[in-house]
Amino acid sequence: MLRGMAAAFRTGWAIETNWASPLVNAFFSLLRPVGATLILVFIYRVAAGESSDPVLLAWLIVGAALWAYVMSALQGISFAVQQEREWLKVLKYVVVTPLPFSAYLLARSGTWLVWGTIRAVFVILVTVPVLGLPISFGAVNWGELVGAMAMGLVALAGMGMGLAGIALGVARHPMGVGEGVIGVLYLISGAIFPIGQLPGWLEATARVIPLTYWLEACRQALITGYDPTRFGVGDPWSPLAWSGVIWLGVGLWAFRWFNHRARADGLYDRTTDY
């Protein structure tokens, strides 16, 4: 199984990166997250004017940087289904291999973890010295950071598998479903503004999503002088744990259900030209 997953990972990596050399790949891959982060930086500068709140700016930047994982995971895993089925037309061959389909998908789209890490680390490494952010690598709580990242990424993988299942089942707009979910999460997970700004019912929804607590836990670990009571999330650890487990379970169950339905309805080789 591990050999199969390694082969699937190499396949996904080749598909995603064989259009250019590694340096060119890395350059273009970093443009979007850097551009998105700089947009937030200039919004902050225009809105804040002469006043300066480095902790708030660091809060914004960390959210924007970590969002690279969310984009990569939720788009990458569901996009792999569309690629394999609609464009490469090999999905029906993949599902008859000895490697479980879920394992194949996770490994095939495993580039999301690599690219998400490269993008997030690059954004933080560049912005900390340039903007004078209160993130000191000697003061980072590495234990908390690693724990938060592990729990958050597992929850993300579960969400991605759920979206992959939906991509298997929908006739049109499989990518639109992924982008829509990302858009909704961007709005309600506290990525770039505190969840306290949301109406009550949306804030309540934000509090059952693991990403809200994942981002908060990472910010607490990274930012020096961070006040955990400032942005209204509270203690993130146990909510991250239970919500992550729930969303992982829901995602895997959804994938299993849609996969069964795809097998029953003969959807493995359906093409819709979308």
């Binding site: 804040a48 914004l60 639109g176 700004q197």
Partner: protein, 275 residues
Amino acid sequence: MIDNRPGPLRHGLQTVLARAYPRVVGANREPSWVFFEVTLPLLATVALVMVYRALEAPARFEGYVILGGAMTAFWLNTIWNMAAQFRWEKENGNLELYLASPAGLMWILTGMALGGSFSTSLRAAAVITLGAVVFDVPFVWSGWPQALLILLITLSALYGVGMALSSLFLKFGRNAEQGISSLMEPVFLLSGAYFPVRALGLGAAVAGTLIPMTLGMDALRQVLLSGDAFELLAWPIEVLLLIVYAVVVMLIARWALKRMEHAAKVEGRLTLRWQ
């Protein structure tokens, strides 16, 4: 013998209508696009408005996001419904049919742009409505006639850019698609889509004017938003610059399309998929 064939202009307009027709009629046959193309993109706009609110910025800055969200919809239409379209037509096997037909490539692209404008205009209108009704952005409604003029001229320049970029997609295929896709956020940054472009500094702001959206948005903010618009240039000057830009970029597009079509034929790329 009477020649009943249409003249070049009428033939071109027939081509535009023929290419726009499937986009408009096809969209109505599959109403799910309303949700995916209009509703979902509002989410990013709402998120950035909430950022300004979290930073306790004056309400006019929310207007920047609203107008930026509307204009970026047209930019995305230019890139994905126009510039990248020929590559996708190549993947579907339609490109060689286009080239073998008497229809000119620029007329076909114009039809694609106009057809795509149907859903794009709805999306832009939804963003503006959201801003006016939900976020209560203080638009200056008396400025709408000038705003429509600015928008039409900006779109002409934008679609000229789309035509020029389509030649890149024809030549470089997948590489161009990856490159252009990666440039989305940098384009929004340099064009000041969500904040005054002057905040970038004069040099970067001037460089940003290479993107027609920059001058268009700056002009729209001056006529539609009250208060200090942090303008780059007075809007009548920006309109004149956009007119010149549109003419120049259309000429470049015409030359580039012919060159790239010839180069693609010589290199055998016209029917090559996944390249």
